[in-house]
């Protein structure tokens, strides 16, 4: 079922394609969907700004009794399908909004589109909640999926007045960040290049800024983020570790709003408003690092990092049942992570993302479906440079087309979709990768998926999917079965997920030390197959009280056909690769408590990652054909404590994080190497310096922990403007956390020390 080639493979894919085609027809056929019955669909938006609302409870009542209910999904879209004809009370309820009601006369075969506008106000608490916003919050994890809202992001302390998605991500158990610089996230044992990050359907290849507090996603632009730490649905593919699917806000359709921030790390602004009231809106956000002028002076140390990001979006309700949005993202990063030593100059890494997308949503009046069409283009250019010259570079460009269709049934959905991508990959790596100095490749991916949802006995809701992922340019294809299952029983929730994943486009990086953040992209060309992962997740969540929730999730991953850098005693960058296998075992524990004025959560991640390297020379060097080791990102224990306290008029946010030490390779000493293959002239040949390592990764770096505290206060200004003052301290007890250890010079590079931070944000609406 893994990598499949040749005639047998093609036959299997053709057969699977025929099966999928048949199922597509069934999914869309009137008989299967029982389309003779009626359907009510539409979008739920907030009255004050026109933003879509997700998680709104929508229910039809007849004679006071609940008949059918659902919750709005992303983009605020809902559907109530297979409704028998008759007269109903239609209610929409959402915390923080007034209940919306209407009377409906549903006839035989009616296709109603009802767009709902909810007014802010007190919720009537005696409303029957059909399905609360049960998918939001740190403890509310559904088989690896955590859904995040901007409010969750903003309560994590950060050096900026506004929140940033990455600060929330790094509080999650199972997500390992190497440090406060580098912008690399390892999710449940996976490597950064194995994560899929989507923003409005755009692939963002290197989305996290070089300074670890910031990503390309400030909280101002976020509507909702779905983080799949594994076991993701058939809609997603091409990555073997995780998916971070970000939906941006549409912008205010009622009036203009905006903000400007000034802080020691970044300053920026955002602006949004209607282009046509209630119909078309725009949103623009720009941030620019000001570290040299700000934070560097605060810590009295050179922090050689620069970055900026720009996001723009326009969204339109074209008519009652169609929406169109256009999004644009541009980011730039440059900085030095390796600051040089006695033998080598400092290395600079720079990268830029460019991405654009058009997203069209439609729910045709004639069919009980919702269709999403996305066309996007993305480009990542990255380079590793010396002080003066470019040393290595990599460029990845892709054009993506995706169609996602949802068929609504009474208590379930059937999803299917098609996708096609074309990619251009260019790299120049000094001949370090397969002997190529300059390499240009083209690749194509096409495929389809089908994912029906079933209700099984004993209350299990199962989503079983099959994805065909084909690479015509590589003459390779894969069948990827996926499964997600949820059972809700009063206050308990049981979840399962499993799936198979493949990644043909891979990132090459040198992970022998933390400074290796330059990633070159290429197609996988190993003979034994492309990287493959098999995920399994088992979860349990319990609402202990209305205010207290706990969840635990166990997970396992089997990683096949991995590429890892060859082990070598030569210092510094290498892209010579070796095959490896891997396995990840772990468990995430989450406790969340919400009771005003206090709210907070504690997360604990337990993880065990092992790689088995299969480099041909291992037997020569170590006596065994395989080398089993803990890779550099295997953080065994990780704890995060986040607390928010509403001490009117201040808001106080606190975060403490702890991580056990990461593996690293200890050296026995340093000498030199010369190849003695004949008439060696020791007066002319200089040789190379060499590291005499112990076996790989058998040392453990010190533990990491840090406490951050921030406080905010809002001041109302004339003209509906609000001035937010922000003050805080990063690393309040000045823990000297190791970021990077230069084993060549014994020089340690620590993460950020005690940093007081202040900021101002002026917002208007």
């Amino acid at each position: 079922m893994s990598a499949i080639n040749g005639i047998a493979t093609k036959k299997r894919i053709q057969f699977a394609g025929m099966v999928l085609a048949g199922l597509f027809l069934m999914a869309g056929s009137p008989g299967y969907s029982m389309a003779q019955q009626s359907i009510v669909r539409g979008t739920v938006v907030a009255a004050h700004d026109g933003e879509p609302l997700q998680g709104v409870n929508l229910a039809l009542y007849r004679d006071g009794a609940l008949v059918i209910g659902t919750a709005s999904g992303s983009d605020g879209i809902y559907a109530l399908a297979q409704i028998a004809s008759g007269r109903y009370d239609f209610r929409a309820t959402f915390v923080g909004f007034r209940t919306w009601t209407d009377s409906l006369d549903i006839g035989e075969g009616d296709r109603r589109i009802i767009n709902i506008v909810l007014e802010e106000g007190e919720t009537e608490l005696d409303e029957v909640v059909v399905e609360s916003d049960s998918d939001v919050g740190m403890a509310r994890v559904l088989a690896g999926q955590t859904t995040v809202r901007p409010a969750d992001v903003e309560r994590i302390p950060s050096p900026d007045v506004s929140g940033d998605l990455i600060n929330f991500l790094t509080t999650m158990p199972g997500i390992v960040s190497i440090g406060d610089r580098g912008g690399q996230l390892f999710i449940r044992g996976g490597e950064p290049w194995q994560n899929l990050v989507l923003l409005d359907g755009m692939w963002v290849y290197q989305p996290f800024h070089i300074l670890g507090f910031f990503s390309s996603f400030p909280s101002e632009i976020l509507q909702q983020v779905d983080i799949f730490a594994g076991g993701y649905t058939s809609q997603y593919g091409g990555r073997i570790s995780s998916v971070i699917d970000i939906k941006s806000r549409n912008g205010d359709k009622k009036g203009y709003a905006g903000s400007a921030t000034v802080a020691p790390f970044v300053s920026g602004f955002s602006l949004e408003g209607p282009i046509a009231v209630d119909l078309v809106s725009f949103l623009v956000s720009y941030r620019q690092s000001v570290i040299e002028e700000g934070a560097s002076r605060l810590v009295d140390d050179e922090l050689p990092f620069e970055f900026d990001d720009f996001f723009a979006k326009t969204h339109a309700f074209i008519n009652a049942n169609t929406q169109l949005s256009l999004s644009l993202l541009r980011t730039n990063d440059r900085g030095s992570v390796f600051e040089g030593n006695d033998l080598e100059d400092a290395e600079f890494v720079e990268w830029e993302n460019r991405a654009a997308s058009a997203r069209y949503l439609v729910f045709p009046r004639a069919f009980p479906i919702m269709a999403e069409f996305i066309v996007s283009g993305s480009r990542l250019k990255s380079a590793q440079t010396g002080l003066t010259e470019e040393v290595r570079f990599s460029k990845l460009s892709s054009a993506n087309t995706t169609v996602n269709v949802t068929h609504y049934h009474r208590n379930s959905e059937v999803r299917w979709g098609l996708f096609a991508r074309t990619l251009e990959l260019v790299s120049s790596l000094d001949g370090l990768y397969q002997g190529f100095f300059y390499r240009k490749e083209y690749a194509t991916e096409v495929g389809a998926y089908l994912e029906p949802e079933f209700m099984l006995p004993w209350g299990w809701r199962v989503r079983a999917g099959l994805r065909i992922h084909s690479f015509p340019s590589q003459d390779t294809g894969f069948l990827e079965p996926r499964l997600r299952a949820i059972k809700v029983r009063e206050r308990d929730e049981f979840t399962l997920a499993a799936g198979m994943f493949h990644q043909e486009i891979v990132g090459l990086t040198d992970r022998r030390d933390a400074a290796g953040i330059f990633t070159a992209w290429t197609t996988s060309t190993f003979d034994q197959g492309v990287p493959e992962a098999i995920h399994a997740i088992v979860g349990y969540r319990r609402a202990v009280t209305q205010r207290l929730e706990v969840s635990v999730e166990g997970y396992g991953k089997k990683l096949n056909n991995l590429f890892i850098p060859e082990w070598t005693a030569y210092p510094r960058f290498t892209t010579r690769i070796q095959p490896a296998e891997g396995r990840v075992l772990g468990a995430d524990f989450r406790v969340e408590y919400k009771n005003k004025p206090f709210s907070g959560f504690v997360t604990y991640g337990l993880s065990n990652v092992r790689y088995t390297a299969k480099q041909e020379s291992l037997e020569l060097w170590y006596g065994d054909k395989d080398l089993d080791f803990r890779p550099a990102h295997d953080r065994r224990h990780q704890v995060n404590v986040v607390a928010s306290l509403d001490l009117k008029p201040f808001d106080l946010d606190v975060r403490w994080q702890f991580g056990s030490g990461l593996p690293y390779s200890r050296a026995l000493g340093f000498d030199g190497f010369m190849i003695v293959d004949g008439d060696l002239d020791v007066f002319r040949e200089s040789g190379n310096r060499r590291v005499i390592y112990e076996e790989p990764y058998n040392g453990i770096l010190p533990t990491y922990h840090r406490l951050d505290i921030t406080a905010q206060r809002d001041f109302s200004l004339p003209g509906s403007a609000i001035l937010t003052t922000h003050a805080g301290v990063i690393n309040i007890y000045d823990r000297q956390n190791l970021f990077y250890l230069d084993v060549f010079t014994l020089r340690r590079v620590d993460q950020l020390p005690f940093i007081p931070t202040v900021g101002l944000k002026l917002a208007f609406e």
Binding site: S617, D671, G672
Partner: protein, 297 residues
């Protein structure tokens, strides 16, 4: 409510006091010590009046080599005669402007003789290597297979433990552009196929007809237009001690870079062998030269 806030604030302050005690640096020791003291590279050459070995000290920190003497006393002992020679340190500036320590001694090593080379630091740590120089080899032409455009010369080296590489030098004459006279020159080619016979002798195959294109290319001349006259052929074979064998067959630096992979040094790393270039010259018959593609007067 106010009491709650006070309790929370006090709790927070208590936590801060406790945590502030953790704000220290945790030491990390990334470089473990090793008993190995030095890394040595080179070979003893019984055909040279000066011996030289590159020596790296094994340090706890990677630093540029400084222009100062290395803490090392280097001696070689002829195990057959007991003669002991002290070697001298020199700091060499290489083309890449890096510095390195090359120890050298003005003596000619004996053929087929065991030597012990020791390097001792002031703290008593010592690295040593036992080297046996190869015997003086003998070479002869076994056979010349000559046909039009195909000349293969079969040489045989006897009384040598190993041959690592061969180099062929073609001593040729080429006319001036106006053809008024000729000038002599030499073209060196790392060439020749080396095979071990079962009886301890080594076969070397030289193919002048195949090398001719390289000779034309090296001299910037064109076959058919420019004549090249062959004076003689010189074959240099690098004869080594028996232990000069790569564990992987080839001398791939990516494989051999791992310390200890290709080493005969005790209490250290690196490789020191015994070796020399053995030279054999001969002249070809006119017909063979013609068959190989050279011009004949």
């Amino acid at each position: 409510m106010i009491m709650d806030k006070m309790h929370m604030t006090r709790g927070l302050l208590l936590c801060l006091v406790v945590l502030s005690t953790l704000g220290c640096e945790e030491a990390v020791d990334p470089v473990l010590s090793t008993d190995e003291a030095y890394t040595l590279y080179g070979f003893l050459d019984p055909t040279s009046d000066r011996q030289a070995i590159r020596i790296f000290s094994i340090d706890g920190v990677l630093e540029r080599t400084r222009n100062e003497p290395m803490d090392a006393i280097v001696r070689s002992v002829n195990a057959r005669t007991g003669e002991t020679v002290s070697w001298r340190d020199s700091v060499v500036v290489f083309d890449d402007l890096s510095l390195g320590h090359v120890f050298h001694a003005p003596f000619r090593a004996d053929f087929d003789t065991p030597y012990t080379l020791s390097v001792t630091a002031s703290d008593g740590r010592s690295t040593s290597v036992d080297v046996r120089t190869p015997p003086d080899g003998e070479a002869r032409i076994v056979d010349i297979a000559s046909a039009r455009s195909q000349v293969v010369i079969h040489l045989e080296w006897s009384s040598v433990p190993r041959l690592l590489q061969t180099q062929v030098s073609y001593h040729v004459r080429v006319p001036f552009p106006d053809r008024s006279d000729t000038t002599t020159t030499r073209v060196d080619i790392r060439s020749g196929r080396v095979e071990e016979n079962g009886d301890g002798t080594w076969r070397v195959y030289i193919i002048p007809s195949g090398d001719l294109g390289i000779v034309f290319g090296a001299l910037g001349l064109q076959p058919g237009r420019d004549p090249i006259f062959l004076d003689r052929v010189e074959v240099r074979a690098f004869v080594t001690s028996a232990d000069w064998v790569s564990p992987v067959g080839s001398f791939d630096p990516e494989l051999l870079v791992q310390p200890g992979t290709f080493s005969n040094v005790q209490d250290g790393f690196g490789f020191v062998g015994g070796g020399y270039f053995d030279r054999f010259e001969f002249e070809m018959e006119e017909q063979d030269e013609r068959n190989a593609g050279f011009s004949v007067e």
